[in-house]
């Protein structure tokens, strides 16, 4: 036995053989029955029908809402390949299409379409966003998806009112549940109305917004942009500046026309943060507004205990408005 084998044997938490539990055997034999095998042709038909239902559900998302509840697709329709959430059942293509050509022309076009709007000095930002995050702990990995309605002061200081509605999977959709409200003190590090609109200065502000320094710069910038969009209504001038800034990032690639989880058509952009992770951004081609962000696990480099490819986090920005 090699040295590792000897160590493993010395520290085996369950080294001794156990006697079978006869009571358990009797209980299983008394309460369960073997299922009859299903003919292969029936399994095939079932799989085809199930796949069809998932595709139909994922593509028919946005307007099918009952009782005022908001829904989003449970799978990401990624450039023709449906991708499931991590830790949830669903499609996991063996290979995702690679990011396309340079994103620069598309991002500059978005910057040009972002319409300059006057920013209010007082009042509140009202944001509605669906967030899904992969939570990992010693018990494994699980997804937590919520619809969040947020009210923050435009001034960047005051009280943040947050109402969170859990969302649960139902037949290819994530459906809004009952909400829970809370109010907390708010001190924003990124106030949309005070952000510079020159790309260089904006880059410095976004990189200084507390995103972990060990990550690739594009990931830090996009992380800051997501954080900004989660808390503030981003005006057209700042949105334009953000797209101009990102146009300078060579690792951002164009995905072309894509559909987000709310069924909205937009321009897709992607970049790979190493070999294990891909970020996907979807922007409204007409207004330059950020519609959605997805973080896809391409390879489990340890600790996540998920089967890639799968979506580990996403943000779907549903509505943004200012209130006096």
């Amino acid at each position: 036995m090699d040295d590792v084998g000897a160590l493993m044997a010395a520290h085996d938490p369950a080294p001794a053989e156990l006697r079978p539990d006869e009571l358990l055997l009797a209980e299983i034999l008394a309460t369960a029955r073997p299922r009859r095998p299903v003919p292969r042709w029936r399994m095939g038909v079932g799989a085809v029908l199930a796949t069809g239902l998932v595709i139909v559900a994922a593509n028919a998302v946005p307007s099918q809402e009952s009782d005022g509840a908001l829904t989003v697709a449970a799978t990401l329709d990624y450039a023709g390949s449906a991708v499931a959430l991590c830790g949830e059942p669903g499609p996991r293509p063996s290979r995702l299409p690679g990011p396309g050509g340079s994103a620069r022309p598309g991002l500059l076009a978005l910057a040009g379409r972002a319409v300059a709007t006057p920013l209010p000095a007082t009042g509140s930002n009202l944001i509605t966003v669906v967030q899904s995050r992969l939570l990992t702990d010693d018990g494994g990995s699980r997804m937590r998806t919520s619809l969040v309605r947020l009210r923050t002061p435009v001034s960047g200081q005051g009280v943040r009112q947050r109402t969170e509605f859990p969302m649960n999977g139902q037949g290819g959709l994530l459906v809004q549940g009952q909400g829970r409200a809370e109010a907390t003190p708010y001190q924003s590090g990124l106030v949309a109305g005070r952000l510079p609109t020159r790309a260089g200065a904006l880059r410095t502000r976004l990189l200084g917004a507390g995103q972990a320094r060990g990550r690739p710069e594009t990931a830090r910038l996009v992380g800051a942009v997501v954080e900004l969009n989660e808390n503030e209504v981003v005006g057209g001038r700042v949105a334009g500046a953000i797209w101009r800034l990102l146009a300078g990032r060579a690792d951002l690639r164009a995905l072309g026309r894509v559909t987000d989880r709310r069924g909205r058509a937009g321009q897709g952009f992607a970049f790979d943060a190493g070999e294990s992770e891909r970020w996907v951004l979807v922007a409204d081609a007409a207004t330059g507004a950020l519609l959605s962000v997805e973080r896809v696990v391409l390879a489990d480099t340890g600790g996540l205990e998920v089967t890639p490819p799968c979506v580990r986090d996403f943000w779907v920005f549903v509505a943004r408005e200012w209130r006096p």
């Binding site: 090699d2 040295d3 590792v4 493993m8 079978p20 073997p34 702990d137 010693d138 340890g302």
Partner: protein, 171 residues
């Protein structure tokens, strides 16, 4: 007892210990028995899919157990206090730990815990479950070549981790 029941009882007696110990090495030993119960109840329902070969039968059962271990991990978040680090401190029943032994065990389990999940699982399947590379690949759901690579990489990484924590090889 029907023919099906007899076949299942034979599978159960051959593999009960293996399945309970597999679960004990991955989750709280107190619930390993429950996981084994769910694994065998599931196996009984799926008896028609059980392979005829005894070795393949163990791989099949551990594949089912793997799913139940994952479910158990997800379901026991409220008991975070009983995490793997605490488990590492536990001495075998009836054997009072001595300081050096506890420190050694803690260092080893910390080093093992720092490995990426796939590498850690490769070591567990190969050394603790006593599976061949092909069998371990069957349980983990990957190719034999991939498992061999993970195993080799895991050995190297474990040695590095142990060295980094001042743990002598073979000790």
């Amino acid at each position: 007892m029907t023919e099906e029941d007899e076949r299942f009882a034979a599978i159960y007696h051959r593999n009960y210990s293996c399945v309970v110990r597999y679960a004990s090495r991955r989750i709280d030993p107190d619930v390993a028995g429950d996981v084994a119960a769910r694994t065998f109840a599931d196996a009984y329902r799926r008896l028609a899919q059980a392979p005829g070969d005894e070795s393949a039968e163990r791989v099949w059962l551990l594949g089912i157990a793997r799913g139940h271990v994952s479910n158990e991990r997800r379901g026991r978040r409220r008991r975070r206090a009983l995490d793997e680090r605490v488990m590492a401190w536990r001495a075998p029943a009836g054997v009072p730990p001595v300081d050096g032994e506890v420190i050694t065990r803690l260092a080893f389990h910390q080093a093992l815990g720092r490995l990426p999940g796939n590498d850690r699982e490769a070591l567990r399947l190969f050394y603790w479950e006593g599976l061949s590379v092909e069998e371990a690949a069957g349980v983990a759901g990957c190719r034999a070549g991939t498992m061999a690579t993970r195993l080799s990489r895991a050995r190297t990484r474990l040695r590095e981790q142990l060295r980094a924590s001042g743990f002598g090889e073979g000790g």
